[in-house]
Structures are given as structure tokens and as C-alpha cells.
């Protein structure tokens, strides 16, 4: 656990970057610091590994006051990831990852073996290890940054807007991978971002800071959305809080309707027969995964990929209420497609059934 007790940082010149911050980042969990630009997120983060010394207050890691530890030793035990990785341009990917193990005195072979292992862990091909950072895409560099921070298996990781330099699609991918990785390794993570959506997606708990470096609210994401402490937090959270809050409620046993389907390539007559007068018919691919909706009445040839309406999202059975509701709202038939963990079609659900579920358990949706 990392514990801030009444920590302040006043920069020369008088800027109060952090103004009396007290909070705990529990072990094995992701604590996100979020807030507008200049609210002291980076300063707070860097006080943990003493790249910045607090003006007053104490920071403890697992009960030990960091001010009594040798800074470089402290830092070797704390993974640190920054925007675009901060990789060493003059070292190969493997050497980058092996940096801290080598500093800790591991022999070269063991450090390289560890680097290889981590490269795979973050989903990069082994042959990338011999390249230099400028031969990797932004997303790949970011993965290397995470691998490098994990190299010596530190219990604590600090991450300062690690995913903000990549495009939204890659960012989402990196976030998902990061969550999967964390589910495995269970590090104590302090994660800084100015993106509230990222905070809500990644945080086990979210600390909203205001300019001047004070804590506006510290809560689990669902609680934050359901019950913002004040107008500042509410504003910062933005619109659609009710809808976004549904992302944290698992859809329990929604009434699933079996859906008549045809395979891609089925003839127009077959499609019309199966649809039995319905305007929209669901098409699945050879693996039984939903491919899209088609209007049988408009078919003149067998169902091809070009005939498909692809606007509908697919929700996972046992996923969130938000995903289920969105699936229903986005389907042209208004029947939300549900799939199992392998992506195969299970059935469909209607918006009214999802809403009924939301109304049935209002308290759960807010917890």
C-alpha cells in the first residue's frame, strides 16, 4: 500500500502544486489520479519515487517512509512508465527492457531471458527485441515501456499518462491488454491521466484532483458516476453519467430470445423463408458468430458481406448492462445481439428487458 499523509509540494516561485493530499493506494489495485491540467498529478506521482521531494508530509510504501530510503534503490523497486515510453533510443528493445535487472546486478543471460519473457508477455514478437525503439510503432513502444517497467518484477508501478500519445483505437487496445496483464500480476499501481473515461475504465479507485492539488473525491468508478461529491466532480465526469454507470453493473439473467439465423451465402429464398415476415434477419458466419443484419425483402442474390447492416454492437452474455442496452439500441431490428465468450451467437435481447432489469435493481446499478 502507498499512503500519502498530508503531502504538499510548493515549487520555488510559490506554485502550490499539491496542497495537503492524503490518500491510500491499496496493494494490488489500480488507483487513478485524474484531474485537469496542472492539478498536480505528475508532481504527486513523482513524489512517490522521490524524483520530486515533498515540501511537507510523508509518503509511505508498505509502511516504510520513503524519505528514509536511498532514492536510486527505491526507484529500482518501482516500475515507471511515461508517455511514449521514454525508451532509450540508442539501445535495442531487449536492452531497454533489461535495464533495471542489469542495474540490480543480474547476469546478462538471466536479464536477457527475462526481457524475452516480458516481450512476449506484452504481446510483441520476439524478433522485435533486436530492433531499436524508432523501428517500432507508437503502440509497440508503449508496450515496451510497460515491459521495461515490469522487468525486475517491482511490486509498485507508477504510470504517467502512458497511453495518451497513441491514437484512440490503439489506446483502447493497450488499455484492455493492460487490464488483462494486471489481472495476472496484481501490482500496486498509481496511474495518472487527464482522461476521465480512461480513469473510469482502468481504476479500481479514482482520485479526482482539483487545481491546487487537493482531493475532490476518492471513490470506485461506479460510485463516482452515481454520486459525485460536488459540482466540480460532476462537471469533470461529464455527460451520460447514468448510462456510463451501467458499464459497472453486470447484466444478470436477461431474458434471451433465440434468434432465427441464416449463414452468409444463404439464398435469398431461404432468407425470406427463415425471416418469416420480419423486416430484419440476423446473419452468422461459418463459426456461428454474428456477422450482421440483412433485409430479406431486398435480397436479389445469396446473402453476401455487402448486404449486411453492420451498425449493431454485440454484447457478451454476462457482460455489463450498458453493453446489453447498447446492443439493443444499435441493432436496426432493436434486438440486441448477445454472444458467448468465444463470440458465437447466443440470442437477442430487447431494450425494454434491459431497462426492466435496470429498474428492478436500482441500488445495484449504483454500487
Amino acid at each position: 500500500m502507498i499512503r500519502f499523509t498530508d503531502v504538499t509540494k510548493v515549487y520555488p516561485g510559490g506554485t502550490v502544486a499539491v496542497g495537503g493530499l492524503s490518500l491510500r493506494a491499496p496493494s494490488g489495485k489500480i488507483t487513478v489520479l485524474v484531474g485537469p491540467s496542472g492539478c498536480g498529478k505528475t508532481t504527486s506521482l513523482r513524489m512517490i519515487n522521490r524524483m520530486i521531494e515533498p515540501t511537507s508530509g510523508t509518503i509511505e510504501i508498505d509502511g516504510r517512509d520513503t524519505s528514509g530510503l536511498e532514492p536510486n534503490e527505491l526507484r529500482r523497486g518501482i516500475g515507471y512508465v511515461i508517455q511514449s515510453g521514454g525508451l532509450f533510443p540508442h539501445r535495442t528493445i531487449l536492452d531497454n527492457i533489461a535495464t533495471v535487472p542489469l542495474l540490480l546486478g543480474w547476469d546478462r543471460r538471466r536479464a536477457r531471458a527475462r526481457a524475452h519473457e516480458l516481450l512476449e508477455r506484452v504481446g510483441l514478437a520476439p524478433e522485435l527485441g533486436r530492433r531499436y525503439p524508432n523501428q517500432l510503432s507508437g503502440g509497440q513502444q508503449q508496450r515496451v515501456g510497460v515491459a521495461r517497467a515490469l522487468a525486475a518484477d517491482p511490486p509498485v508501478m507508477l504510470m504517467d499518462e502512458p497511453f495518451s500519445a497513441v491514437d484512440p483505437v490503439v489506446r483502447e487496445q493497450l488499455q484492455d491488454e493492460f487490464l488483462r496483464l494486471q489481472a495476472d500480476i496484481g501490482k500496486t499501481i498509481v496511474f495518472v491521466t487527464h482522461d476521465i473515461d480512461e480513469a473510469i475504465k482502468l481504476g479500481d479507485q479514482v482520485a479526482v484532483l482539483r487545481v491546487g492539488g487537493t482531493l475532490a473525491q476518492l471513490a470506485a468508478p461506479a460510485d463516482l458516476l452515481a454520486d459525485p461529491a460536488d459540482d466540480f466532480v460532476a462537471d469533470f465526469l461529464g455527460r451520460d453519467r447514468g448510462y456510463r454507470g451501467l458499464a459497472f453493473t453486470e447484466a444478470p439473467a436477461l431474458p434471451v430470445t433465440r434468434e432465427p439465423t441464416v449463414r452468409l451465402g444463404a439464398g435469398a429464398d431461404e432468407a425470406r423463408r427463415v425471416a418469416a415476415g420480419e423486416e430484419w434477419l440476423l446473419v452468422v458466419d461459418a463459426d456461428g458468430a454474428p456477422a450482421g443484419w440483412v433485409r430479406p425483402s431486398a435480397l436479389v442474390a445469396p446473402v453476401g458481406p455487402d448486404d449486411l447492416h453492420r451498425g449493431g454492437t454485440v454484447a457478451r452474455v454476462g457482460g455489463s448492462l450498458r453493453a446489453a442496452l447498447d446492443a439493443a439500441l444499435s441493432a436496426p431490428s432493436r434486438r440486441g445481439v448477445l454472444a458467448d465468450d468465444d463470440g458465437r451467437l447466443v440470442g437477442t435481447v430487447r431494450a425494454q428487458d434491459v431497462l426492466a432489469e435496470i429498474e428492478r435493481e436500482p441500488s445495484e446499478a449504483a454500487s
Partner: protein, 214 residues
């Protein structure tokens, strides 16, 4: 060019001396300029006095500096040490700014990352910052090398033998051949040093010549 053929040994010897007198100060100057450049990079207040101050040294006429050296060093006028020290001064004059610029060219987040990983200041400097500053420093070094080759020849006026002696010799005897040979030899030497520095700089910066993301 019969003259060259009959004096090949002599010209070769002068060229070697010339090269030694150019290169040793280059090395000394670099070794001195690195800490000074670091100070100029690290402490804002020192930058202007250090960069401008050392830069000013370059404006001292070389002949004057060669003549002053024995007074300062207590050496004989013919001592090659005078040339070595004087040229080291010029090299420092050229390189302090270059080193400071080179260090400043290293991205801040790279240094932050190094610090965050627990790499101490000395290791960070030699292991991260200096290697990354090589391209900029090497560019300055090439200028200094060419400048040294040309300034060394002035020392011939004091009687220190190197390729410059061919100029004084040819001039004294009103004989063009040695002068032309001297000029060409100087150019060849300058070019060779320039290419050597370029080659070394490229050899130690392999990451700069790899393709972009595949």
C-alpha cells in the same frame, strides 16, 4: 611533380607530424570541453559566460597564441607542446557550445525515464546522455579537426616542422612545387580526419540508420 616524387619520404614524415599535431589537441580539447559543456548545459547561469568566454578564445590570432605559449608554459619556442596546447585551446573554444547543444538535444523524457529507473547521475551521463549527444558533438568535432589542420601549418613560421614548412620553404626559395604539394596534402589530411570522425560517429550510433516502423 618530379619534386614530390623525390621528396616523398620527407612529405610523408611532415604529414604524419601534422596529423599528430592536429589530432592530439582534438582529443585533449574534447576531454576538456565535455565537462565544461556539461556545466553550461546543467547550470543556466554558467551557459553564457562559458560559451561566450571559450568562444572568445578562438578570436586570438594563432600566431600570437603560438608565440605566447612559451611565456605561459615556460617551454622553448620550438617545442611542439606549444602547438598542442594552443590548438587544444582552439578546440575547446569550438567544442564547449557544441557539447552543451549536444547534451540539450537529448529528449528530456529519456533522462527522466533513466532517473526513474534508478540510474545514478554518472551512469546516466555516460550511459545515456553522452551517447545520444554523439551526432551533434561529432559534427562540431569535424569542424574542429579541419580547423586544426589548417592552423597547425601556421606553426611553420616558428620553425616547427609539419606540412606548413613546405609553404615557408617554397616561399623562401620562390619555388611553387612544395607549396602546391603542401596545400594538397593539408586538404587530403583534413578530408581524411573528417571522414574518420564521420565513420566513428556512424559506427557508434547504429540506431540512427535503421528504417522506420515496419
Amino acid at each position: 611533380m618530379n619534386w614530390l616524387l623525390t621528396h616523398l619520404d620527407e612529405v610523408g614524415g611532415l604529414m604524419v607530424t601534422h596529423a599528430v599535431l592536429s589530432v592530439i589537441p582534438l582529443v585533449i580539447g574534447l576531454v576538456v570541453a565535455v565537462p565544461l559543456g556539461w556545466l553550461a548545459w546543467r547550470y543556466r547561469l554558467l551557459r553564457t559566460p562559458l560559451v561566450a568566454g571559450t568562444g572568445l578564445l578562438y578570436t586570438i590570432p594563432s600566431l600570437a597564441l603560438f608565440i605566447l605559449m612559451p611565456l605561459v608554459l615556460g617551454t622553448g619556442i620550438l617545442d611542439p607542446l606549444n602547438v598542442v596546447v594552443a590548438l587544444s585551446v582552439y578546440t575547446v573554444a569550438l567544442l564547449v557550445r557544441t557539447v552543451a547543444d549536444g547534451l540539450a538535444s537529448v529528449p528530456d523524457e529519456v533522462l527522466q525515464a533513466a532517473t526513474a529507473m534508478g540510474i545514478g547521475p554518472l551512469r546516466r551521463f555516460f550511459g545515456v546522455q553522452l551517447p545520444l549527444a554523439v551526432p551533434v558533438i561529432a559534427a562540431g568535432l569535424r569542424v574542429a579537426a579541419v580547423s586544426n589542420v589548417s592552423i597547425v601549418s601556421v606553426a611553420a613560421l616558428l620553425g616547427i616542422a609539419q606540412l606548413g614548412s613546405l609553404f615557408t620553404d617554397g616561399f623562401a626559395r620562390n619555388f611553387l612545387d612544395p607549396i602546391i604539394v603542401g596545400i594538397v596534402a593539408c586538404m587530403v589530411l583534413a578530408l581524411a580526419l573528417d571522414l574518420a570522425i564521420l565513420a566513428v560517429s556512424r559506427a557508434v550510433t547504429p540506431w540512427l540508420r535503421v528504417g522506420s516502423p515496419a
